[in-house]
Protein backbone atom coordinates (compact mmCIF):
# COMPACT_ATOMS: atom_id res chain seq x y z
CA UNK A 1 0.00 0.00 0.00
CA UNK A 2 2.80 2.29 0.87
CA UNK A 3 4.43 1.52 -2.46
CA UNK A 4 1.19 2.27 -4.29
CA UNK A 5 0.84 5.57 -2.54
CA UNK A 6 4.34 6.37 -3.69
CA UNK A 7 3.41 5.67 -7.30
CA UNK A 8 0.30 7.86 -7.00
CA UNK A 9 2.46 10.57 -5.53
CA UNK A 10 4.84 10.43 -8.46
CA UNK A 11 1.92 10.62 -10.88
CA UNK A 12 0.46 13.51 -8.98
CA UNK A 13 3.71 15.45 -9.07
CA UNK A 14 4.16 14.69 -12.75
CA UNK A 15 0.68 15.83 -13.66
CA UNK A 16 1.10 19.03 -11.66
CA UNK A 17 4.44 19.62 -13.26
CA UNK A 18 3.26 18.74 -16.76
CA UNK A 19 1.65 22.10 -17.55
CA UNK A 20 4.94 23.74 -16.64
CA UNK A 21 6.95 21.30 -18.69
CA UNK A 22 4.53 21.69 -21.60
CA UNK A 23 4.41 25.46 -21.30
CA UNK A 24 6.01 27.34 -24.17
CA UNK A 25 9.60 28.40 -23.61
CA UNK A 26 10.20 32.04 -22.74
CA UNK A 27 10.38 34.63 -25.52
CA UNK A 28 14.12 34.79 -25.06
CA UNK A 29 14.56 31.03 -25.34
CA UNK A 30 12.36 30.94 -28.42
CA UNK A 31 14.33 33.77 -29.97
CA UNK A 32 17.61 32.05 -29.32
CA UNK A 33 16.78 28.36 -29.75
CA UNK A 34 13.43 28.13 -31.49
CA UNK A 35 10.64 25.86 -30.28
CA UNK A 36 12.01 22.52 -31.48
CA UNK A 37 8.86 22.06 -33.56
CA UNK A 38 9.91 23.61 -36.81
CA UNK A 39 10.62 27.19 -35.79
CA UNK A 40 14.35 27.84 -35.49
CA UNK A 41 15.82 30.56 -33.28
CA UNK A 42 15.02 33.98 -34.72
CA UNK A 43 18.50 35.28 -33.88
CA UNK A 44 20.16 33.01 -36.44
CA UNK A 45 18.96 35.41 -39.15
CA UNK A 46 17.80 38.51 -37.29
CA UNK A 47 20.92 38.87 -35.13
CA UNK A 48 21.70 37.99 -31.53
CA UNK A 49 20.18 41.25 -30.31
CA UNK A 50 17.47 41.29 -32.96
CA UNK A 51 19.48 43.95 -34.76
CA UNK A 52 18.97 42.45 -38.23
CA UNK A 53 21.48 41.56 -40.89
CA UNK A 54 21.83 44.29 -43.50
CA UNK A 55 24.13 42.26 -45.76
CA UNK A 56 21.59 39.47 -46.06
CA UNK A 57 18.60 41.80 -46.10
CA UNK A 58 17.09 40.50 -42.85
CA UNK A 59 15.25 43.24 -40.93
CA UNK A 60 15.80 44.17 -37.31
CA UNK A 61 13.09 43.16 -34.89
CA UNK A 62 14.43 44.75 -31.73
CA UNK A 63 12.35 47.65 -30.45
CA UNK A 64 9.51 47.17 -32.90
CA UNK A 65 6.00 47.55 -31.43
CA UNK A 66 4.84 44.30 -29.86
CA UNK A 67 1.48 44.23 -31.58
CA UNK A 68 3.16 44.97 -34.90
CA UNK A 69 5.49 41.97 -34.52
CA UNK A 70 2.63 39.72 -33.45
CA UNK A 71 0.60 40.95 -36.40
CA UNK A 72 3.41 40.05 -38.80
CA UNK A 73 3.78 36.52 -37.42
CA UNK A 74 0.06 36.02 -37.85
CA UNK A 75 0.23 37.49 -41.35
CA UNK A 76 3.08 35.17 -42.38
CA UNK A 77 1.07 32.23 -41.12
CA UNK A 78 -2.12 33.24 -42.92
CA UNK A 79 -0.14 34.51 -45.93
CA UNK A 80 -1.53 38.01 -46.04
CA UNK A 81 2.19 38.73 -45.91
CA UNK A 82 4.03 36.55 -48.39
CA UNK A 83 7.38 35.11 -47.35
CA UNK A 84 8.44 31.60 -48.32
CA UNK A 85 11.07 31.77 -45.56
CA UNK A 86 8.91 33.04 -42.71
CA UNK A 87 5.66 31.27 -43.58
CA UNK A 88 6.63 27.78 -42.29
CA UNK A 89 8.40 29.20 -39.23
CA UNK A 90 5.47 31.36 -38.22
CA UNK A 91 3.08 28.48 -38.83
CA UNK A 92 5.15 26.32 -36.48
CA UNK A 93 4.62 28.74 -33.58
CA UNK A 94 1.67 28.49 -31.23
CA UNK A 95 -0.33 31.58 -30.38
CA UNK A 96 1.43 31.79 -27.03
CA UNK A 97 4.84 31.36 -28.59
CA UNK A 98 4.10 34.16 -31.06
CA UNK A 99 3.07 36.40 -28.18
CA UNK A 100 6.13 35.53 -26.12
CA UNK A 101 8.64 36.10 -28.87
CA UNK A 102 6.95 39.35 -30.01
CA UNK A 103 7.06 40.70 -26.47
CA UNK A 104 10.71 39.70 -26.16
CA UNK A 105 11.90 41.59 -29.26
CA UNK A 106 9.64 44.55 -28.52
CA UNK A 107 11.36 44.84 -25.15
CA UNK A 108 14.84 45.14 -26.66
CA UNK A 109 16.16 48.60 -27.56
CA UNK A 110 15.96 49.82 -31.15
CA UNK A 111 19.35 49.14 -32.75
CA UNK A 112 21.60 52.02 -33.72
CA UNK A 113 22.03 50.64 -37.21
CA UNK A 114 22.32 52.01 -40.72
CA UNK A 115 23.68 50.84 -44.04
CA UNK A 116 26.84 52.90 -43.61
CA UNK A 117 26.50 53.84 -47.27
CA UNK A 118 25.68 57.14 -48.94
CA UNK A 119 22.24 57.50 -50.51
CA UNK A 120 24.04 58.69 -53.63
CA UNK A 121 22.42 60.75 -56.34
CA UNK A 122 18.91 59.80 -55.28
CA UNK A 123 19.43 61.14 -51.75
CA UNK A 124 17.33 64.27 -52.30
CA UNK A 125 14.51 62.36 -53.93
CA UNK A 126 14.55 59.80 -51.13
CA UNK A 127 14.62 62.42 -48.40
CA UNK A 128 11.74 64.30 -50.01
CA UNK A 129 9.60 61.16 -50.08
CA UNK A 130 10.45 60.32 -46.47
CA UNK A 131 9.98 63.80 -45.03
CA UNK A 132 7.42 65.40 -47.35
CA UNK A 133 5.79 62.60 -49.31
CA UNK A 134 4.57 62.83 -52.89
CA UNK A 135 1.22 64.51 -52.63
CA UNK A 136 0.76 64.73 -56.37
CA UNK A 137 -0.13 61.04 -56.10
CA UNK A 138 -1.63 61.26 -52.62
CA UNK A 139 1.35 59.92 -50.70
CA UNK A 140 2.03 61.44 -47.27
CA UNK A 141 5.57 61.54 -45.89
CA UNK A 142 6.80 58.20 -44.47
CA UNK A 143 7.73 60.05 -41.28
CA UNK A 144 4.21 61.37 -40.87
CA UNK A 145 3.12 57.99 -39.50
CA UNK A 146 6.39 56.16 -38.82
CA UNK A 147 7.84 58.87 -36.55
CA UNK A 148 9.96 61.90 -37.36
CA UNK A 149 13.12 59.83 -37.67
CA UNK A 150 11.45 56.64 -38.84
CA UNK A 151 11.67 55.16 -35.34
CA UNK A 152 8.13 53.76 -35.43
CA UNK A 153 4.95 54.80 -33.64
CA UNK A 154 3.40 52.13 -31.46
CA UNK A 155 1.20 50.22 -31.70
CA UNK A 156 0.67 50.10 -35.48
CA UNK A 157 3.55 51.77 -37.27
CA UNK A 158 6.93 49.97 -37.31
CA UNK A 159 10.37 51.55 -37.33
CA UNK A 160 11.68 51.82 -40.89
CA UNK A 161 14.92 53.82 -40.69
CA UNK A 162 18.03 51.67 -40.82
CA UNK A 163 16.26 48.62 -42.20
CA UNK A 164 18.18 46.93 -45.04
CA UNK A 165 17.67 48.61 -48.40
CA UNK A 166 16.66 45.37 -50.12
CA UNK A 167 14.17 44.59 -47.41
CA UNK A 168 12.52 48.01 -47.63
CA UNK A 169 12.36 47.90 -51.42
CA UNK A 170 10.90 44.41 -51.43
CA UNK A 171 8.23 45.33 -48.91
CA UNK A 172 7.23 48.46 -50.79
CA UNK A 173 7.04 46.45 -54.01
CA UNK A 174 4.97 43.82 -52.22
CA UNK A 175 2.51 46.47 -51.04
CA UNK A 176 2.32 47.86 -54.52
CA UNK A 177 1.71 44.48 -56.12
CA UNK A 178 -0.58 43.11 -53.44
CA UNK A 179 1.79 40.36 -52.25
CA UNK A 180 1.51 41.98 -48.83
CA UNK A 181 -1.94 43.01 -47.72
CA UNK A 182 -1.86 42.90 -43.93
CA UNK A 183 -1.79 46.67 -43.50
CA UNK A 184 -4.47 48.23 -41.30
CA UNK A 185 -7.25 49.76 -43.43
CA UNK A 186 -5.10 49.19 -46.51
CA UNK A 187 -2.99 52.27 -45.76
CA UNK A 188 0.33 51.08 -47.14
CA UNK A 189 -1.25 49.68 -50.28
CA UNK A 190 -2.96 53.02 -50.81
CA UNK A 191 0.09 55.23 -50.27
CA UNK A 192 2.50 53.05 -52.24
CA UNK A 193 0.03 52.24 -54.99
CA UNK A 194 0.82 55.31 -57.08
CA UNK A 195 4.58 55.43 -56.59
CA UNK A 196 6.97 54.64 -59.40
CA UNK A 197 9.75 52.09 -59.21
CA UNK A 198 12.33 54.88 -59.04
CA UNK A 199 10.52 56.44 -56.06
CA UNK A 200 10.55 53.13 -54.24
CA UNK A 201 14.25 52.62 -54.97
CA UNK A 202 15.13 56.15 -53.80
CA UNK A 203 13.17 56.07 -50.57
CA UNK A 204 14.36 52.57 -49.68
CA UNK A 205 17.94 53.59 -50.18
CA UNK A 206 17.52 56.82 -48.23
CA UNK A 207 15.81 55.16 -45.25
CA UNK A 208 18.47 52.44 -45.11
CA UNK A 209 21.16 55.09 -44.57
CA UNK A 210 19.44 56.46 -41.44
CA UNK A 211 19.58 55.10 -37.93
CA UNK A 212 16.24 54.83 -36.10
CA UNK A 213 17.92 56.11 -32.95
CA UNK A 214 19.26 59.35 -34.42
CA UNK A 215 17.63 62.43 -35.90
CA UNK A 216 18.15 62.44 -39.70
Amino acid sequence: MKKRAGIYLIFAILTYAAPTLGAPPSGKTLAQQGNGKGAPGCVSCHGDKGQGNPAAGYPYLAGQPESYLLGQLNAFADQTRTSPVMQPFASALSVEEMQAVSAYFAGLPLPDTDSGKSAGDTADAGRRLATQGKWSVGMPACFQCHGDRGQGVAPHFPAISGQPEDYLRNQLEHWRKGARSNDPIGLMQAVVGHLEEADIAAVSRYLSTLSPTKAP
Binding site: A12, P19, D148, I185, L187
Partner: protein, 304 residues
Protein backbone atom coordinates in the same frame (compact mmCIF):
# COMPACT_ATOMS: atom_id res chain seq x y z
CA UNK B 1 -6.41 13.99 1.54
CA UNK B 2 -6.53 10.58 -0.08
CA UNK B 3 -3.67 10.43 -2.52
CA UNK B 4 -6.00 9.00 -5.21
CA UNK B 5 -8.29 11.99 -4.93
CA UNK B 6 -5.31 14.25 -5.27
CA UNK B 7 -4.25 12.35 -8.36
CA UNK B 8 -7.67 12.58 -10.00
CA UNK B 9 -7.87 16.23 -9.08
CA UNK B 10 -4.56 16.95 -10.70
CA UNK B 11 -5.52 15.08 -13.85
CA UNK B 12 -8.69 17.13 -14.13
CA UNK B 13 -6.66 20.29 -13.58
CA UNK B 14 -4.38 19.27 -16.39
CA UNK B 15 -7.30 18.72 -18.74
CA UNK B 16 -8.85 22.08 -17.91
CA UNK B 17 -5.49 23.71 -18.39
CA UNK B 18 -4.93 22.14 -21.80
CA UNK B 19 -8.41 22.99 -23.02
CA UNK B 20 -8.00 26.62 -22.07
CA UNK B 21 -4.75 26.72 -24.01
CA UNK B 22 -6.25 25.45 -27.19
CA UNK B 23 -7.66 28.83 -28.16
CA UNK B 24 -7.94 29.23 -31.90
CA UNK B 25 -5.50 31.39 -33.79
CA UNK B 26 -6.70 34.83 -34.83
CA UNK B 27 -8.82 34.76 -37.94
CA UNK B 28 -7.03 35.57 -41.14
CA UNK B 29 -6.66 39.31 -41.73
CA UNK B 30 -9.23 40.50 -44.22
CA UNK B 31 -7.82 41.65 -47.49
CA UNK B 32 -7.47 45.41 -47.55
CA UNK B 33 -10.17 47.54 -49.10
CA UNK B 34 -9.95 48.95 -52.56
CA UNK B 35 -7.40 51.68 -52.94
CA UNK B 36 -8.74 55.10 -53.84
CA UNK B 37 -6.86 57.64 -55.83
CA UNK B 38 -6.83 61.18 -54.46
CA UNK B 39 -9.52 63.51 -55.77
CA UNK B 40 -8.05 65.06 -58.89
CA UNK B 41 -8.04 68.81 -59.07
CA UNK B 42 -6.54 71.14 -61.59
CA UNK B 43 -4.76 73.30 -59.12
CA UNK B 44 -2.16 76.01 -58.87
CA UNK B 45 1.28 74.53 -58.27
CA UNK B 46 3.21 76.26 -55.50
CA UNK B 47 6.99 76.33 -55.88
CA UNK B 48 8.92 73.42 -54.35
CA UNK B 49 10.63 73.94 -50.99
CA UNK B 50 13.99 73.80 -52.71
CA UNK B 51 13.05 77.08 -54.38
CA UNK B 52 13.01 78.99 -51.08
CA UNK B 53 15.69 81.63 -51.69
CA UNK B 54 18.96 81.43 -49.85
CA UNK B 55 18.79 84.89 -48.34
CA UNK B 56 17.27 86.87 -45.45
CA UNK B 57 13.76 86.57 -46.85
CA UNK B 58 14.26 82.85 -47.43
CA UNK B 59 15.28 82.43 -43.79
CA UNK B 60 11.98 83.97 -42.72
CA UNK B 61 10.09 81.68 -45.10
CA UNK B 62 11.88 78.66 -43.66
CA UNK B 63 11.02 79.77 -40.14
CA UNK B 64 7.40 80.12 -41.24
CA UNK B 65 7.47 76.59 -42.59
CA UNK B 66 8.84 75.27 -39.30
CA UNK B 67 6.17 77.10 -37.31
CA UNK B 68 3.54 75.79 -39.67
CA UNK B 69 4.55 72.15 -39.30
CA UNK B 70 5.60 72.19 -35.61
CA UNK B 71 3.52 74.98 -34.20
CA UNK B 72 3.74 73.92 -30.56
CA UNK B 73 7.52 73.84 -30.79
CA UNK B 74 8.31 77.00 -32.74
CA UNK B 75 5.41 79.20 -31.59
CA UNK B 76 4.95 77.66 -28.14
CA UNK B 77 3.86 80.83 -26.36
CA UNK B 78 0.84 81.23 -28.64
CA UNK B 79 -0.34 77.61 -28.65
CA UNK B 80 -2.66 76.26 -25.95
CA UNK B 81 -3.14 72.69 -27.15
CA UNK B 82 -1.51 69.91 -29.14
CA UNK B 83 -2.49 71.05 -32.64
CA UNK B 84 -0.32 72.35 -35.46
CA UNK B 85 -1.27 74.38 -38.54
CA UNK B 86 -0.41 71.38 -40.71
CA UNK B 87 -3.12 69.25 -39.07
CA UNK B 88 -5.81 71.04 -41.07
CA UNK B 89 -3.61 72.27 -43.95
CA UNK B 90 -1.90 69.10 -45.18
CA UNK B 91 1.44 68.90 -46.95
CA UNK B 92 2.73 71.91 -45.02
CA UNK B 93 -0.09 74.09 -46.36
CA UNK B 94 0.48 73.14 -49.99
CA UNK B 95 -2.23 70.59 -50.70
CA UNK B 96 -5.21 71.52 -52.87
CA UNK B 97 -8.57 70.77 -51.20
CA UNK B 98 -6.90 70.99 -47.82
CA UNK B 99 -7.24 74.76 -47.37
CA UNK B 100 -3.87 75.53 -49.01
CA UNK B 101 -2.04 78.69 -48.04
CA UNK B 102 -1.53 79.83 -51.63
CA UNK B 103 -5.28 79.93 -52.23
CA UNK B 104 -5.95 81.74 -48.95
CA UNK B 105 -3.24 84.32 -49.56
CA UNK B 106 -4.89 85.66 -52.72
CA UNK B 107 -8.33 85.98 -51.03
CA UNK B 108 -7.34 88.41 -48.27
CA UNK B 109 -8.25 90.99 -47.05
CA UNK B 110 -11.87 89.91 -47.06
CA UNK B 111 -15.08 90.38 -45.12
CA UNK B 112 -15.83 87.52 -42.74
CA UNK B 113 -19.21 86.76 -41.26
CA UNK B 114 -17.51 85.11 -38.31
CA UNK B 115 -16.44 88.44 -36.83
CA UNK B 116 -18.44 90.75 -39.10
CA UNK B 117 -15.56 92.82 -40.32
CA UNK B 118 -12.91 92.94 -43.00
CA UNK B 119 -10.04 90.68 -41.98
CA UNK B 120 -6.48 90.91 -43.10
CA UNK B 121 -4.43 87.76 -43.56
CA UNK B 122 -2.74 88.52 -40.23
CA UNK B 123 -6.09 88.60 -38.50
CA UNK B 124 -7.14 85.39 -40.18
CA UNK B 125 -4.02 83.60 -38.93
CA UNK B 126 -4.50 85.12 -35.47
CA UNK B 127 -7.94 83.50 -35.52
CA UNK B 128 -6.31 80.10 -36.13
CA UNK B 129 -4.21 80.57 -33.00
CA UNK B 130 -7.17 81.72 -30.92
CA UNK B 131 -9.52 78.92 -31.94
CA UNK B 132 -7.82 75.99 -33.66
CA UNK B 133 -4.72 76.20 -31.49
CA UNK B 134 -6.79 77.26 -28.45
CA UNK B 135 -4.11 79.83 -27.71
CA UNK B 136 -3.23 83.50 -27.89
CA UNK B 137 -3.08 85.47 -31.15
CA UNK B 138 0.55 86.31 -31.95
CA UNK B 139 1.10 90.07 -32.37
CA UNK B 140 0.85 91.38 -35.94
CA UNK B 141 4.34 92.82 -35.89
CA UNK B 142 6.01 89.88 -34.14
CA UNK B 143 8.28 87.30 -35.69
CA UNK B 144 5.76 84.44 -35.59
CA UNK B 145 3.25 86.19 -37.83
CA UNK B 146 5.97 87.71 -39.97
CA UNK B 147 7.33 84.23 -40.65
CA UNK B 148 3.93 82.70 -41.39
CA UNK B 149 3.01 85.61 -43.66
CA UNK B 150 6.32 85.26 -45.49
CA UNK B 151 5.75 81.54 -45.96
CA UNK B 152 2.23 82.04 -47.36
CA UNK B 153 3.32 84.90 -49.62
CA UNK B 154 6.25 82.90 -50.96
CA UNK B 155 4.02 79.93 -51.65
CA UNK B 156 1.52 82.01 -53.64
CA UNK B 157 4.15 83.34 -56.02
CA UNK B 158 2.58 83.67 -59.45
CA UNK B 159 -0.99 83.07 -58.28
CA UNK B 160 -3.59 85.62 -59.41
CA UNK B 161 -4.82 87.93 -56.64
CA UNK B 162 -8.50 88.21 -55.76
CA UNK B 163 -9.42 84.94 -57.45
CA UNK B 164 -10.94 81.87 -55.85
CA UNK B 165 -8.53 79.24 -57.09
CA UNK B 166 -9.52 75.61 -57.68
CA UNK B 167 -8.52 73.62 -54.60
CA UNK B 168 -9.21 76.55 -52.24
CA UNK B 169 -10.58 75.61 -48.80
CA UNK B 170 -12.22 72.21 -48.54
CA UNK B 171 -14.48 71.08 -51.41
CA UNK B 172 -18.10 71.72 -50.44
CA UNK B 173 -19.80 68.44 -49.75
CA UNK B 174 -23.18 67.29 -51.04
CA UNK B 175 -25.86 66.96 -48.40
CA UNK B 176 -26.07 63.45 -46.96
CA UNK B 177 -29.01 61.22 -47.92
CA UNK B 178 -29.66 60.48 -44.24
CA UNK B 179 -29.38 62.85 -41.31
CA UNK B 180 -25.87 62.45 -39.82
CA UNK B 181 -25.97 59.86 -37.09
CA UNK B 182 -23.85 59.43 -33.95
CA UNK B 183 -23.80 55.63 -33.92
CA UNK B 184 -23.03 55.26 -37.61
CA UNK B 185 -20.32 57.87 -37.13
CA UNK B 186 -18.89 55.94 -34.20
CA UNK B 187 -18.61 52.87 -36.42
CA UNK B 188 -16.88 54.81 -39.18
CA UNK B 189 -14.52 56.26 -36.59
CA UNK B 190 -13.64 52.91 -35.05
CA UNK B 191 -12.85 51.35 -38.43
CA UNK B 192 -11.07 54.21 -40.16
CA UNK B 193 -9.85 56.84 -37.72
CA UNK B 194 -9.06 55.28 -34.34
CA UNK B 195 -5.95 53.65 -35.79
CA UNK B 196 -4.16 57.03 -35.68
CA UNK B 197 -6.42 59.31 -33.63
CA UNK B 198 -6.97 56.80 -30.81
CA UNK B 199 -10.13 55.09 -29.62
CA UNK B 200 -11.02 58.19 -27.60
CA UNK B 201 -9.92 60.79 -30.15
CA UNK B 202 -6.88 61.63 -28.05
CA UNK B 203 -4.32 61.33 -30.87
CA UNK B 204 -0.82 59.97 -30.36
CA UNK B 205 2.00 61.75 -28.61
CA UNK B 206 5.52 60.26 -28.63
CA UNK B 207 8.85 61.64 -27.44
CA UNK B 208 7.15 64.93 -26.57
CA UNK B 209 5.90 65.33 -30.13
CA UNK B 210 2.37 65.07 -31.43
CA UNK B 211 2.37 62.41 -34.14
CA UNK B 212 -1.39 62.29 -34.71
CA UNK B 213 -3.57 65.19 -33.56
CA UNK B 214 -6.30 64.93 -30.94
CA UNK B 215 -9.84 65.45 -32.27
CA UNK B 216 -11.65 66.26 -29.07
CA UNK B 217 -10.91 66.70 -25.37
CA UNK B 218 -8.81 69.32 -23.63
CA UNK B 219 -5.85 69.15 -26.05
CA UNK B 220 -7.94 69.60 -29.21
CA UNK B 221 -9.23 72.67 -31.11
CA UNK B 222 -11.84 74.66 -29.20
CA UNK B 223 -15.55 75.35 -29.69
CA UNK B 224 -14.78 78.40 -31.79
CA UNK B 225 -12.57 76.65 -34.38
CA UNK B 226 -13.89 76.13 -37.88
CA UNK B 227 -13.39 72.39 -37.56
CA UNK B 228 -16.06 72.10 -34.84
CA UNK B 229 -18.63 72.81 -37.56
CA UNK B 230 -19.95 69.55 -38.89
CA UNK B 231 -20.05 70.67 -42.52
CA UNK B 232 -16.44 71.92 -42.40
CA UNK B 233 -15.16 68.76 -40.76
CA UNK B 234 -17.15 66.57 -43.14
CA UNK B 235 -15.70 68.37 -46.16
CA UNK B 236 -12.15 68.09 -44.83
CA UNK B 237 -12.57 64.43 -43.94
CA UNK B 238 -14.14 63.44 -47.23
CA UNK B 239 -11.32 65.03 -49.24
CA UNK B 240 -8.39 64.14 -47.02
CA UNK B 241 -8.99 61.34 -44.55
CA UNK B 242 -7.83 58.75 -43.70
CA UNK B 243 -4.45 60.30 -44.46
CA UNK B 244 -3.25 58.83 -47.74
CA UNK B 245 -6.75 57.56 -48.56
CA UNK B 246 -8.61 60.80 -49.17
CA UNK B 247 -11.87 60.30 -51.05
CA UNK B 248 -12.27 56.72 -49.83
CA UNK B 249 -15.11 57.42 -47.39
CA UNK B 250 -18.57 57.94 -48.83
CA UNK B 251 -20.27 61.32 -48.50
CA UNK B 252 -22.60 59.80 -45.91
CA UNK B 253 -19.70 58.31 -43.93
CA UNK B 254 -17.91 61.67 -43.92
CA UNK B 255 -20.99 63.44 -42.52
CA UNK B 256 -21.61 60.72 -39.96
CA UNK B 257 -18.06 60.66 -38.66
CA UNK B 258 -17.84 64.47 -38.60
CA UNK B 259 -21.04 64.51 -36.56
CA UNK B 260 -19.61 61.91 -34.19
CA UNK B 261 -16.26 63.67 -33.72
CA UNK B 262 -17.96 66.99 -33.08
CA UNK B 263 -20.42 65.49 -30.61
CA UNK B 264 -17.65 65.41 -28.01
CA UNK B 265 -16.60 68.10 -25.62
CA UNK B 266 -13.61 70.33 -26.25
CA UNK B 267 -12.12 73.55 -24.86
CA UNK B 268 -14.53 76.45 -24.41
CA UNK B 269 -15.27 78.98 -27.12
CA UNK B 270 -13.04 81.93 -26.14
CA UNK B 271 -15.98 84.28 -26.88
CA UNK B 272 -17.96 82.62 -24.07
CA UNK B 273 -18.90 85.12 -21.38
CA UNK B 274 -20.59 82.86 -18.85
CA UNK B 275 -23.86 82.07 -20.60
CA UNK B 276 -23.88 79.02 -22.85
CA UNK B 277 -27.23 79.81 -24.47
CA UNK B 278 -26.23 83.38 -25.21
CA UNK B 279 -22.93 82.25 -26.75
CA UNK B 280 -24.71 79.64 -28.81
CA UNK B 281 -27.25 82.16 -30.07
CA UNK B 282 -24.70 84.81 -30.87
CA UNK B 283 -21.90 82.76 -32.43
CA UNK B 284 -23.20 79.30 -33.32
CA UNK B 285 -25.88 79.77 -35.92
CA UNK B 286 -24.40 77.03 -38.05
CA UNK B 287 -24.14 73.25 -38.20
CA UNK B 288 -22.61 72.40 -34.86
CA UNK B 289 -23.44 70.70 -31.60
CA UNK B 290 -22.38 73.39 -29.14
CA UNK B 291 -25.00 73.49 -26.39
CA UNK B 292 -26.61 70.21 -27.51
CA UNK B 293 -27.29 67.46 -25.05
CA UNK B 294 -25.32 64.28 -25.78
CA UNK B 295 -26.07 61.53 -23.31
CA UNK B 296 -26.05 63.24 -19.95
CA UNK B 297 -23.76 66.13 -20.86
CA UNK B 298 -24.55 69.41 -22.52
CA UNK B 299 -21.69 70.13 -24.88
CA UNK B 300 -19.80 73.26 -23.92
CA UNK B 301 -21.34 73.57 -20.46
CA UNK B 302 -18.33 72.34 -18.53
CA UNK B 303 -15.72 73.28 -21.13
CA UNK B 304 -12.81 75.29 -19.81
Amino acid sequence: MDIRVLFLFSVSLLIVNQVSRAEPAEPAGKAAQAVNAPIPVKAFQPPPDEAIPDDEFGNMVRLGRKIFTHTGKYAAEYVGNNQSCVNCHLDAGRLANSAPLWAAWVRYPTYRKKNQMVNTMQERIQGCFRYSMNGTPPPADGETLKALMSYAYWMAEGAPTGVTLPGQGYPKLDKPKLEPDYQRGADVFAHNCALCHGADGEGVRQDDQQVFPPLWGKHAFNWGAGMHRINTAAAFIRANMPLGKGGSLSVQQAWDVAYFVNSHDRPQDPRFEGDLEATKKKFHNHQCRYGDKVGKTVLGRSSK
